[in-house]
C-alpha cells in the first residue's frame, strides 16, 4: 500500500516537472522570437538612417557634427551583441537621431520636402516599432523570468538549464527622455 502511494506521488511529481519544463520551453521560444522582432526593427532603422542623412545633408551643411554623430552611433549600434548591449548602443543612436530631428525642424526647406517628410514618417514608424517590440519583449521576458523564479519552480529551473532573460532596458537617464519625432503634425 505504502509503495503504491509512494509511486503515485513520484508519478505526479514527474508529470508536474514535465509540464513545467514544457511551459518554460514554450516561454523561452516566445522570448527568443520577441528578441528577433526587435532585431528586425533595429535593422530597418539602421538601413533607414543613411537615406535620411543623405536626404538632409545638402540643406544642413553647417550641421556636420550632428550628422557625423548619427552615423557614428549607427556604426556602433551595428556591433551590438545581446539585448543589454544593444539597448545601450541603440539608446545612444536614439539620442543622436533626436538631435538631428530637432535641428532639422529649423529648416523650412526640409520640413516641406516631400522625400524628407516620407523618410521622417518611416523613421517615426520604425522608432515606434522598436519601442513597441521592446515593450512586448520586456513583458514576455519578465513573465519568463517570473515563471523561473517562483517557488517551487526555482528549485529545478536552473538545473534544467533555464537562464533568466536579459531585459532590453534603457540604462542612461538622459535617454529616457524620448524626443518628439513628429514632422507630420498637422
Amino acid at each position: 500500500m505504502i509503495v503504491i502511494i509512494f509511486l503515485v506521488i513520484v508519478a505526479l511529481l514527474a508529470f508536474w516537472i514535465i509540464g513545467s519544463y514544457n511551459r518554460l520551453v514554450g516561454m523561452k521560444n516566445q522570448v527568443l522570437n520577441g528578441w528577433r522582432q526587435i532585431d528586425v526593427q533595429l535593422k530597418r532603422r539602421h538601413d533607414l538612417i543613411p537615406n535620411l542623412v543623405n536626404a538632409v545633408k545638402g540643406s544642413m551643411d553647417f550641421e556636420r557634427d550632428t550628422l557625423t554623430a548619427v552615423m557614428e552611433a549607427r556604426a556602433k549600434a551595428l556591433t551590438a551583441t545581446g539585448p543589454a548591449d544593444a539597448a545601450q548602443k541603440e539608446g545612444q543612436l536614439t539620442q543622436a537621431l533626436g538631435r538631428l530631428i530637432a535641428v532639422a525642424e529649423n529648416y523650412p526647406t526640409l520640413r516641406s520636402n516631400e522625400n524628407v517628410r516620407a523618410l521622417m514618417e518611416e523613421l517615426t514608424g520604425t522608432e515606434n516599432k522598436v519601442g513597441f517590440a521592446r515593450q512586448f519583449y520586456n513583458d514576455i521576458a519578465t513573465k519568463y523570468n517570473t515563471a523561473q523564479q517562483v517557488f517551487p519552480t526555482n528549485l529545478f529551473a536552473a538545473a534544467l538549464g533555464f537562464k533568466s532573460a536579459e531585459l532590453f532596458e534603457i540604462t542612461n537617464e538622459a535617454e529616457r527622455e524620448v524626443p518628439v519625432v513628429d514632422l507630420s503634425r498637422k
Partner: protein
C-alpha cells in the same frame, strides 16, 4: 476582466452560440420531418439532415467570405491600391496608417492585419476577419483626415484589441449564423404558407389518429415552438450579438491603451469622432457592431440601462472618454 478572460469568454460564447445554432437547425429539420414528410420518408430524418447540411455549408461559406463581404459592402480599398494614385499629402497619410497598423500589431504580438480605407467623410473605423493573422482593419477617409498620428494610433490600438481578444472572430461567426438562420427561417416560412399547409394538417391528423389526445396536444406545442423558432431566430441571435457588444468596447479601449501606453491619444480621438455626429453613410446596420463608434448615430447609445443594453451596440461616448482619462491620470501619479 482582462485579455485572457475575455478570450476565454469569447471562446465559450462561440461554442454556446454554435451549439444553440445546431439545436435550431435540428429543430427546423425535425419540424419538417414531423409535419411535412411524416411516414412518407420512412424513418430517415430527411428534413433534419437537409437542414443540418444546408445550414453548415451556408454558415461555413458566410464565415470564410464574411470579411470580404463587409469590406466590399463598405467599398473599402486596400492602402497599397490607393497610394498609387494619391497626392503627396495623401500618400504620407496612407504611409502613416500602414506604419501605425504595423506598430500596433507588434505591440499586440500578432501578425499585422491588412489596412483599408473607406471613402466616407465621417470619422469611423472597424475591424473584421477570422482572428489574428486573418483580419483586416478599415478606417474612413474622414478619420484619416481628422486625426493626428497619436490619435490614429489610439484608434488602431482599439481595433487591434478587438482582433486579439477574438471579438472580431466571434462577430464574424455570429454574422454568418444570423445570415443562415434568416435564410432557413425564410425557406421554412414559405414552406408553411404555401403547399405545405395541407400536408401539414394531414400529417398532424394522422398522428392524432394513432396517438391519444394527449399526444396531439404535445404535437401542437411542438408545432408552436417550431413556428416561433423559425420566426424569432434571426432576432434572437442579433440581440445576443448586441448584448456582448457593449462591455467589449470598454475592454478594447482599455487594452488598446495598454498597447499604446497612451490613453489620452484614444480619448482625444473619441472626442473628435463624437463631435462629428453625422451618420457614416457607407456602413450599414449589419456592420454597426464592428465599428469604433455607432455609425448610425442612434440616441439609444447615449443611455445606460436595460433597453440600451438590449439595443445599443456601443456604450455612451462620454463614459468611454472619462474612463480613458482616468487611466491617464492613474498612469501619471503611479
Amino acid at each position: 476582466m482582462n485579455l485572457y478572460e475575455q478570450q476565454a469568454a469569447n471562446r465559450r460564447k462561440t461554442w454556446l452560440i454554435m451549439s444553440a445554432f445546431v439545436v435550431f437547425l435540428l429543430l427546423i429539420g425535425a419540424g419538417f420531418d414531423v409535419f411535412y414528410i411524416g411516414e412518407a420518408g420512412g424513418f430517415v430524418p430527411v428534413g433534419s439532415l437537409l437542414a443540418l447540411s444546408v445550414g453548415s455549408v451556408s454558415s461555413l461559406v458566410s464565415y470564410y467570405a464574411g470579411d470580404r463581404a463587409v469590406l466590399l459592402a463598405t467599398a473599402a480599398k486596400p492602402v497599397d491600391a490607393l497610394a498609387a494614385g494619391a497626392s503627396a499629402d495623401e500618400r504620407l497619410k496612407l504611409q502613416q496608417l500602414t506604419n501605425v497598423v504595423d506598430e500596433m500589431a507588434i505591440a499586440a504580438g500578432i501578425p499585422a492585419p491588412r489596412a483599408y480605407v473607406v471613402p466616407d467623410s465621417d470619422p469611423n473605423a472597424f475591424a473584421t476577419g477570422r482572428g489574428p493573422g486573418r483580419s483586416s482593419i478599415a478606417v474612413t477617409q474622414g478619420l484619416l483626415d481628422a486625426l493626428d498620428r497619436e490619435e490614429l494610433q489610439g484608434v488602431i490600438a482599439h481595433e487591434m484589441s478587438h482582433i486579439r481578444n477574438l471579438d472580431v472572430r466571434l462577430m464574424t461567426i455570429v454574422a454568418a449564423l444570423v445570415g443562415t438562420a434568416a435564410l432557413l427561417s425564410e425557406w421554412a416560412r414559405r414552406g408553411m404558407l404555401s403547399g405545405g399547409g395541407g400536408s401539414s394538417s394531414s400529417g398532424r391528423r394522422s398522428s392524432r389518429d394513432k396517438d391519444s389526445g394527449g399526444g396531439g396536444a404535445v404535437m401542437l406545442v411542438f408545432f408552436v415552438i417550431w413556428a416561433i423558432a423559425i420566426l424569432a431566430a434571426p432576432f434572437v441571435v442579433q440581440a445576443l450579438a448586441m448584448m456582448v457588444s457593449r462591455k467589449r468596447e470598454y475592454l478594447a479601449d482599455a487594452s488598446g491603451a495598454e498597447l499604446t501606453r497612451n490613453p489620452l491619444g484614444l480619448a482625444r480621438a473619441l472626442e473628435k469622432i463624437e463631435s462629428a455626429v453625422a451618420p457614416t453613410q457607407s456602413i450599414n446596420r449589419g456592420s454597426a457592431h464592428l465599428c469604433i463608434t455607432d455609425p448610425l448615430g442612434r440616441q439609444v447609445n447615449l443611455k445606460e440601462g436595460f433597453w440600451s443594453d438590449l439595443f445599443a451596440s456601443h456604450p455612451p461616448m462620454p463614459a468611454r472618454i472619462a474612463a480613458l482619462r482616468d487611466m491617464a491620470y492613474q498612469g501619471r501619479t503611479a
